[in-house]
Symmetry: C2
Subunit: 295 residues, 2 copies
């Protein structure tokens, strides 16, 4: 498409990363990296995500361990499952699939995951180290790490660029902002209380949209030639689909691709990267363990 933005192909880049991971896994001598997934209840979307993670483990020659609990499980039962995985030496990363049923305290469950196995990177000590200059977190949260990898592997220079992050959540907006500051970008963090969001977004050389609102970022919100990473995953009614809906991002893709120089599609952009980074974090943990054993 002449004049249109180059697509940042998250699917291809994630596949490249999985190949690297598989290579690392196969070069390990004593340990097979193992990822544990914990699923409470039977939400269709959560079950799908967990299945995708297990499948990706297999592709990368990793072990996967799965614990399924009924949605009537008590907080204590979920805690106990996590504790067992904390003790299990064949497990190097533990992923508790969110959201948990409402009778369970998410913060309590998440903070029960051993920090050495917190491959999601949401432990408060990990976030503290991520925020501070000169400290290295054990794990960088997967989706934020995926956004930065997409930029780097697409040859985008981040240092000195104006980045606008829309969203300030603990799992995407905030940690991706921290990462980009460390990459020497000038970062603006916008959110629902931002006064003139289109005006703010228009300043950006790089836009990271992590809002959760279908196609909110319009073509006339973005600067010609900018680079757009669309984190959003929203379902939009679409009668032409058998399911009755299709997935769209937080960015109006058709409008923005005409203005931007690079853009991620949804699906096929950030989504596959999140899983790849989860495996990367898990293998990094296993490699650390192997080095410790060798010492």
């Amino acid at each position: 498409m002449s004049g249109g933005a180059k697509l940042i192909d998250g699917k291809a880049i994630a596949a490249e990363i999985r190949t690297e991971i598989k290579h690392d896994v196969e070069s390990m001598k004593r340990i097979v990296p193992g990822l544990a997934t914990v699923l409470v209840g039977e939400r269709t979307d959560s079950s799908t995500y967990v299945r995708m993670k297990i499948k990706a483990c297999k592709e990368c020659s990793m072990n996967s361990i799965h614990r399924s609990l009924p949605d009537t499980a008590s907080e204590e039962e979920v805690l106990q499952a996590v504790e067992e995985l904390n003790r299990d030496e064949s497990v190097h990363g533990i992923l508790v699939q969110l959201p948990l049923p409402s009778h369970i305290n998410e913060e309590r469950i998440l903070s029960s995951v051993s920090i050495e196995k917190d491959v999601d990177g949401f432990h408060v000590v990990n976030i503290g180290k991520l925020a501070m200059k000169g400290r290295t977190p054990l794990f960088v949260p997967c989706t934020p790490r995926g956004c930065v990898e997409l930029l780097k592997r697409s040859g985008v220079q981040i240092a000195g660029k104006e980045v606008v992050v829309i969203g300030r959540s603990n799992i995407v907006g905030l940690p991706v902002s921290m990462l980009l500051i460390h990459e020497n970008a000038t970062v603006t963090i916008a959110h629902s209380r931002t006064a003139d969001l289109p005006g703010v977004v228009r300043r950006a050389d790089i836009v990271i949209a992590a809002v959760g609102r279908s196609e909110m970022v319009k073509g006339d919100w973005v600067k010609p030639g900018c680079i757009i990473i669309d984190v959003g995953i929203n379902s939009k009614p679409d009668s032409s689909k058998k399911s009755g809906y299709r997935l769209v991002g937080d960015v109006d893709f058709e409008e923005c691709r005409k203005i931007a120089s690079m853009i991620t599609p949804v699906p096929g952009g950030v989504g596959p990267m999140t899983i790849a980074m989860l495996l990367r974090n898990c293998v990094d943990a296993a490699m650390r363990k192997e080095r410790e054993v060798n010492e």
Copy 2:
């Protein structure tokens, strides 16, 4: 001065806060809040800062405990001094005056301070909680907290405003950015790698300068009517002074006061607030202890 900015009088606001602190201290029944200061070596500036902190404790009816070590002290000796203060029940806050002599690992010393007594708020768990939405740190770092208090007590509405923070250090720029995001400002974090700093600063309704460069922010960098918090403390040669120098901020005060609507002077702006917030943090810790004792 007609058309000039209103001065934000940090000295007066800090005095007001010390009065509140003294009131809180005198209303406590079982505990007298105690601040411990640790000074290694004899740097004149550090000695002055410590003396000011001890004096402020006295003014607020608080106890102060001081440990002085020679600059030949070993890391183990400093650690031991901190450990003793960690155990000392009359001590509710521990302040290790920085910088430490170069043969001592600052990170190791700072992280040896018990998190319940980390009134500086630099512990990684405190920073992690400060960064995350929905978590409450035990202590908010003093200078950042002082900046926000100055704005609030001057009647500035922060929510929805464009804030530019110049500087991303662990002790000022980064934590003040976090606080202002939680206050619902749209925050841009600028630093030495920012491409067009004057252009970025010119967007701000509120400028926080924490750079460490004398009078760097010029009058034509700032938007008419903006509000300026100048964190910088720099000494500038001045032959008219007996000492041969005077203190200036990171902002060109004479130029910027003509353009801004409110501005902090240096000295007498953020400086006095830092000490007031240190005492506030220490008394908060003592009050938490008293509540625990009562429970």
